[in-house]
């Protein structure tokens, strides 16, 4: 059972990535009911995307209002029994991040995965994100180097469009696990646009091995007895 909490209030993309952009959130006695995206009801979502009247409506809120909603998302959603709650955040180290960590603290989060592209400019920001984790007591589960190389489907030449290696170097420098490189994969982009299940439907695609390896590392990390 996996829940996804989308705290990117200005740019909520998670609903669309699951094809759930037209779903509504309902209330029950124990709170808001998250949106289930599959028949087996194994994945549930909560996002401000479900609360907007129109999908183009801008959420033009200052910090305090964002903080209040995030607290509600953590406290008032009837998630039920979950094996994993994944929280997707916007870029930065500001209101959303501070509030999310505060609201989740009583629930003892496992930690954070930091995503970067290989470029120095992106790594430069993730270094600051690492400091945020240290300062807020959030364990770093590892770093993912995304958009790491593109293999041309016509001739198989690999081009490092956004450079290469920055994420791995950062992990080494910071002494945190390196979870892997995920290549640019047009099928992955397409799949997310169409709200399809990439892992089920595109097992031969170039990003599949990396993504499943990363998921496996997280699972392996959690199968150990907790301290």
């Amino acid at each position: 059972q996996v829940g996804i909490l989308d705290v990117d209030l200005c740019g909520p993309s998670v609903p669309r990535m699951f094809g759930a952009q037209d779903s509504d959130v309902h209330q029950c006695d124990s709170g808001w009911v998250p949106v289930f995206v599959d028949q087996e009801k194994s994945i549930s979502l909560m996002s401000i995307g479900f609360l907007l009247e129109k999908p183009d409506d801008a959420v033009v809120w200052r910090g305090p209002k964002k903080n209040a909603l995030i607290k509600q998302f953590v406290a008032d959603v009837a998630w039920g029994d979950l094996d994993f709650l994944i929280v997707d955040t916007p870029p930065g180290t500001s209101d959303e991040h501070i509030s999310t960590v505060e609201a989740l603290r009583p629930h003892k989060p496992l930690g954070a995965i930091l995503v970067t592209t290989p470029q120095a400019v992106s790594v430069g920001d993730v270094r600051r994100e690492l400091t945020f984790c240290k300062k807020t007591g959030l364990r770093v589960l590892g770093i993912v180097e995304n958009m790491s190389g593109f293999v041309c489907p016509h001739c198989s030449e690999c081009t490092n469009i956004f450079s290469k290696g920055g994420g791995e170097e950062l992990a080494k420098h910071a002494g945190v696990p390196f979870l892997g490189c995920v290549p640019l994969d047009p099928q992955l982009s397409q799949s997310l646009e169409e709200g399809r299940d990439f892992i089920q439907e595109f097992p031969k695609s170039s990003a599949f091995p990396a993504l499943t390896r990363i998921a496996q590392q997280i699972l392996d990390g959690t199968s150990q007895p907790s301290s």
């Binding site: 801008a58 033009v60 209101d95 501070i98 400019v121 489907p153 016509h154 081009t159 956004f162 450079s163």
Partner: protein
């Protein structure tokens, strides 16, 4: 008796005294008071044109574009250009401009921008941080305070173009910059996107935001628009425009598509080195796209200036 957290009286009403949230409500304060507004207007009097660079989504190439826009405009040595980076949590501009490690100096007339060229000055919170690992873990009100300082205390001098690079979204930084700059004048906003629907979805919100705060939209730039393999020259759509890309969205919303820029590995390399991609790769198709877009922005600004002069 709480006036409500989004009310104009939030934090200021009699009932707010003693409330634990009072500082939070009052801190999100809106427009600058008349004295502050006058101060900002005076400071920004010497700025001819201001362009905000926005995006709904992160990672679409907004800072890259802001840097190139500033560099492109400053190629004309007769023009004085300023680049203000208000992405307080993720200040990438210093690195992209080759100014990492530089510090800000104070003088009698205020903070000095850091100059890349004689006619291109830059300001960013990055210059105020002593280590590349320093994190700015601030809530909205503190960010707003720094943005106001950037506008009030930086001695920009006479500028032809002030380019403002923003973080992604529609929140404190965006509301604040629009409010503080309302004391002066903003020509408009350029919005950056990739061809993906998940990015366009957020651009529509950004356009919505611009309408709400009466900020003209100069147009949209579609980044990462196709990739030509350097070996076999075949094109791939790495970020497929599944819903028609920026072109269709611009048609539907009646905004200008300023241009489409293809992916080019040299762009990232130049940014990482702090060099101008336009100078390093003059033959790249991406360079001609960027140059065309920059020209269109210049034309837009010149036209508005002309129109305003006519009405005086």
């Amino acid at each position: 008796d709480c006036p409500g957290t989004s009310s104009a009286q939030a934090g200021r009403a009699a009932a707010c005294q003693g409330c634990p949230n009072q500082r939070i409500c009052a801190g999100g304060a809106a427009a600058p008071d008349p004295a502050e507004a006058a101060e900002l207007r005076e400071r920004l009097r010497s700025v001819k044109h201001t362009v905000l660079v926005l995006s709904g989504k992160g990672g679409v190439g907004k800072s890259t574009f802001s840097a190139l826009l500033a560099q492109g405009l400053a190629a004309d040595e007769a023009k004085q250009v300023a680049l203000l980076d208000i992405d307080i949590c993720g200040p990438s501009i210093p690195k992209m401009m080759g100014l990492e490690g530089e510090q800000v100096h104070q003088s009698g007339s205020g903070w000095s921008p850091v100059y890349v060229e004689e006619n291109l000055g830059v300001m960013s919170v990055g210059f105020l941080l002593s280590s590349p690992d320093d994190a700015v873990i601030w809530r909205g009100p503190k960010k707003n305070g720094l943005i106001k300082q950037f506008l009030r205390d930086v001695d920009w001098g006479d500028i032809d173009y002030l380019i403002v690079d923003t973080p992604p979204g529609t929140s404190d930084e965006h509301l604040s910059i629009v409010q503080y700059l309302s004391a002066a004048h903003i020509d408009g906003a350029v919005i950056i996107t990739t061809p993906q629907e998940v990015s366009l979805q957020d651009v529509r919100k950004e356009i919505n935001f611009c309408h709400k705060v009466k900020l003209p939209v100069i147009g949209v730039v579609e980044n990462m628009s196709g990739f030509v393999c350097p070996k076999c020259k075949n094109e791939s759509q790495i970020f497929p425009p599944t819903t028609g890309g920026a072109e269709k969205m611009c048609q539907n919303l009646n905004v200008s598509l300023l241009g489409k820029v293809p992916l080019d590995p040299q762009i990232g390399k130049s940014c990482d080195k702090g060099q101008s991609f336009l100078s390093e790769a003059p033959e790249s198709p991406a360079t001609s796209s960027y140059r065309n877009i920059i020209q269109r922005i210049q034309e837009y600004c010149d036209q508005r200036h002309f129109q305003e002069e006519k009405t005086i």
